[in-house]
């Protein structure tokens, strides 16, 4: 699964630490999400979407291997 969290974060001018605090996860989790090493739960995906004021589909995208 691909995501554009890094882009969204840049648009909202947030550091990884800021974003982590807003959605109550650790900074390392944001790092792993951006690197595509971790697929978040639906709850976390919805929290991100709400924070960025986008729909989940605008942030996350399925890949051919999924």
């Amino acid at each position: 699964m691909k995501n554009n969290i890094k882009v969204q974060r840049a648009i909202h001018n947030l550091t990884q630490q800021d974003l982590a605090e807003r959605i109550q996860v650790s900074r390392q989790t944001i790092n792993a999400l951006e690197a595509g090493k971790y697929v978040p739960s639906t709850v976390l995906a919805l929290k991100l979407a709400k924070l960025f004021d986008k729909s989940v589909n605008d942030i996350f995208e399925l890949e051919a291997t999924d």
Partner: protein, 160 residues
């Protein structure tokens, strides 16, 4: 996400210290056969107990036994379980996924080792395998989980 089965974070340090100390003590007592030199006899309640290998079984009865090893094993197991399942400082869903992953691998590795020992260790030395099996899964899980968490915490900040 809320989890109810984990222990509070402040248990982690104290149980970790207690676990390492009691485990080292237990292993060295066992390895150097020192339980006989540090005896503290007490009457204990036994569901099944017997004296030596050829004695009769006492069922649901009080028997005399040195309780040093029981006390030590209790400390090792309780502190080990609490340490293994204490919350991280920033407990989130990724930590939970790492914990689950470590637990699964620890179970697979543990039973791999046990099967290997079952097939290739015979006679009285097998008692050592049974003794090790009491703690092996917990130990493997703790080592694996701590290593993965160390790797997780030391990931470089990737920002532009």
């Amino acid at each position: 996400m809320k989890t109810s089965y984990l222990f509070a974070h402040w248990f982690k340090t104290i149980s970790g210290i207690l676990f390492v100390l009691s485990f080292i003590l237990f292993v060295s007592f066992y390895a150097f056969d020192q339980f006989g030199n540090f005896e503290y006899k007490a009457k204990v309640f036994a569901i099944i107990g017997n004296d030596g290998f050829l004695g009769n079984n006492d069922i649901f009865d009080w028997v005399e036994n040195s309780i040093v090893d029981e006390v030590l094993a209790t400390i090792v197991i309780v502190s080990g379980v609490v340490f293994a399942f204490a919350k991280e400082k920033h407990e989130d869903e990724m930590v939970q996924s790492i914990r689950l992953h470590s637990l699964a691998w620890a179970t697979i590795a543990n039973y791999g080792i046990l099967l290997f020992c079952y097939l290739f260790v015979y006679g009285l030395p097998f008692l050592n395998v049974l003794m090790g099996a009491m703690f092996s899964q917990l130990i493997i899980f703790i080592i694996l989980f701590r290593y993965k968490m160390y790797r997780f915490y030391t990931t470089q900040q990737d920002e532009e």
